[in-house]
Symmetry: C2
Subunit: 215 residues, 2 copies
């Protein structure tokens, strides 16, 4: 991951930047990072299932899952950076002058547009996160059972990506004046969150069932 | 984060190693990483609350939270590495010779001990993760409300650390022969998971309430 400075940073470097007194990267980027980790874990389970005689029957399906999981990982990695960038754009807009009425009006327009942009990113994280949950459901059910806990953690991190991004959509919606945008976006986010919850409950039951069976 | 090679790796580097066909780092390390991110997000909210006149009343309490959150972040970062190491030790034990009865017996003893070690790490991640949930509850309730979504994501990632580590405890318990160890460890893990669930539900309700109030 290269950032503004162009320098490679460690995992600890990212965690430290989250912890710092700079508001970005914050919960939005962390949600996307959870989504990337979900994709990565599903990828790993696929790789440790594909090519083994025992799992020949599911090989083709898991090859498809692997491809999609890798794509989600890549997209989520982009969202980690995009979320921080879109936050910075809102901050920049806030710094515009507001002495005259004209300036105030212009500033407000730019802030509103930037905030809508800051909502687009977590909404995409929610969509891709839901897809990541669906992939993890397949690897929980059909992946190498030795990797059951990894498949389960993939589902958990994907769910966290969805729920974390949901909070980011909601808090930004509170600053939006365009009520049609607020209503339609909240409906969309609520629907994604609801679907993610139902799927996650199913997956959790399945993981628990398999953990108990293999005792 | 420095690993065996001694080289610093990027966040993408860690995510790629999770995705690779090597089983470690896997879900155990990812759970610990979620715990570290939870600590980092609570730290950030504290830093953006402390020192502001408006939040003078909670300053002392949040200074205490900041200190504990930083400690959790550091401990969880250590668990990211320790989890992968303890997995490698189990793999090494599995490679011991098993031609004679004596060898078989010795190998089994070493495998059992290594597996118990691989359970200790996620059990600690669960304990620290529960503490991280408690800290995030304070920052949700008393932190700078502009950072409400960050505080909420802190709670979500802390919960994922607990639940993800739980799966790792459970899957490893399935290989343990010492039934007293299995029973007592499962009881402990179930209790931690149950407490984490109740607290997380409370926090989610509180975040939702605050998101709605500030509309």
């Amino acid at each position: 991951m290269t950032f503004a400075g162009g320098e490679k940073e460690g995992l600890e470097g990212f965690i430290d930047r989250v912890a710092s007194s700079s508001p970005a990267p914050g919960g939005g980027s962390v949600s996307a990072a959870c989504g990337a980790l979900a994709g990565a874990l599903s990828s790993m389970v696929c790789r440790l299932t594909i090519g083994r005689k025992k799992f020949k029957e599911v090989e083709d399906e898991l090859k498809g899952v692997l491809e999609k999981a890798e794509e989600i990982k890549k997209q989520m990695e982009e969202f980690i950076v995009k979320d921080a960038e879109s936050f910075d754009r809102v901050m920049d807009a806030m710094k515009l002058p507001k002495y005259t009425d004209e300036e105030k009006e212009k500033r407000n327009l730019v802030v509103q547009e930037a905030t809508k942009g800051a909502i687009t990113v977590p909404l995409q994280v929610m969509e891709k996160g839901l897809l990541a949950i669906k992939l993890s459901q397949i690897v929980v059910e059909k992946g190498n059972p030795n990797m059951l806990s990894d498949a389960g953690v993939s589902a958990l991190t994907a769910k966290t990506a969805v729920d974390g991004a949901y909070y980011n959509v909601r808090i930004n919606l509170n600053s939006i004046e365009d009520q049609d945008f607020v209503t339609s976006t909240k409906e969309k986010a609520d629907a994604l969150k609801g679907e993610a919850m139902l799927l996650s409950q199913e997956i959790e039951r399945k993981v628990e069932e398999k953990l108990t069976q293999t005792q």
